[in-house]
Symmetry: C2
Subunit: 230 residues, 2 copies
DNA sequence: CAGTGGTCTAGACCACCCA
DNA sequence: GGGTGGTCTAGACCACTGG
């Protein structure tokens, strides 16, 4: 089934209703079982919502990671009923040093977007977000207003990552980090490093630093097969 | 399909070969499509490995979490080619205080297993593991030799959790923690708290503490639908 | 009521693995 | 070659939704 790329490719927008199984049968000249299975798998992968007696609908891109339920921090904060504010420290294009060049599989000296943003929850700084973004992935990254729309939200629109890597560490914050997050000396920080790739190559490399006392990462998970056939 | 509970229930052991699709057709008097779909879903849920031209085999319980790839720390260490050693600090039964009683949905004063273990990688302490385990879930927890077999490995055998909750924080270690992990004052620690539930109720509550400088949690993830029909 | 998705059957052809 | 899983078809009955 190399059909239906149109759906994932966004030919139908978020929330759009897609043709019924019977209509798809005719469109693709496939049997209903085949159509049904394709839709069922797309549902399992989270691309569709389906309801018996109603129809099938495109599910907008979910929070990128199924491994760590790290949603857009602004959504997180708003979901708690708190106020979110982003303070842009810098958005720029920088020359890749050796390390960055290696991470992005490009030559040293190539240009890469770089942004540093502090996120506030009720005016308390809760996250320092530093990102490097490949211009090949998001050519307009440098021209965005990230106080209006978070980098996470923007990047999610630009493209879906095929691969994500997370590393979590406890660190003693650097002096500049301490200053930006307004934390006392000796307070530990939780640092999440995330790298993403598309089919075309490395896309982003981010470091999200949280004061240990003001943030924790959590996730809750229903094991597969708890109810189902098994 | 409320058939085939036998597979998940462990009637067939790890790695065992299960009957072919055609045999299952006869056993359950179902069509091949139905059998195939059941097996396909069990494979998707990680209960089976299948190979064309070979057969279907029971996949032993995987690392419990799909959210955080936290495997048995001993496996982790051995996989890096390093030596692992576990130092049992205490394994005991304690009376539940108010907080524990609430977490385990039991009356205060009820008995709960409690263990504290330090894990060494090449004789360097890398994890302090403190667990509380419901006797209803693992009645023999107190009688195990956890220097021979890790708690994680043992608990995985006892039963599969239906639900898992993770919380990750950066913390300043308590003095006792500092001593057991032999770390300097001021070094931050990564603390992972994990709670698990079975259908019957709360099963375990664990705190895994790692020196920030000696450990990090990582995960790598292939997004669904990168290749498939989509 | 008509339309939707959920499920199952019976049969077919294929690619793959291994003796 | 014989057995395995991978895939697809054509048709059927059901449960649920909505007007």
């Amino acid at each position: 089934m190399y059909l239906m790329e149109r759906i994932a490719s966004g030919e139908w927008g978020d929330g759009a209703r897609i043709p019924s199984e019977y209509e798809l049968m005719e469109i693709f000249a496939a049997s209903r079982m085949t159509v049904h299975r394709a839709l069922r798998e797309m549902q399992a992968d989270g691309f569709l919502r389906r309801a018996q007696g109603v129809g099938s609908f495109v599910q907008g891109p979910k929070p990128q990671s199924a491994l760590l339920e790290i949603t857009d921090i602004a959504d997180d904060i708003l979901a708690r009923g708190h106020a979110h504010r982003a303070e842009i420290v810098v958005v720029e294009r920088v020359k890749a040093d050796a390390g960055l060049a290696a991470a992005f599989e490009m030559r040293a000296g190539g240009k890469i977007f770089h942004s540093v943003i502090v996120h506030f929850e009720n005016e308390v700084p809760v996250q320092l977000e530093e990102r490097f973004v490949s211009p090949a992935f998001a050519p307009d990254y440098g021209a965005q207003d990230f106080s209006a729309r978070t980098t996470a939200s923007y990047l999610q629109r630009v493209g879906r990552a095929a691969q994500v890597e997370h590393v979590i560490q406890a660190v003693s914050p650097a002096p500049l980090t301490r200053k930006l997050l307004r934390i006392a000396a000796g307070e530990p920080c939780l640092e999440l490093t995330r790298r993403t790739w598309t089919e075309a190559g490395p896309a982003t490399k981010s470091a999200l630093t949280h004061p240990g006392s003001r943030y924790s990462l959590g996730s809750r998970y229903d094991a597969p097969g708890s109810k189902k056939p098994g």
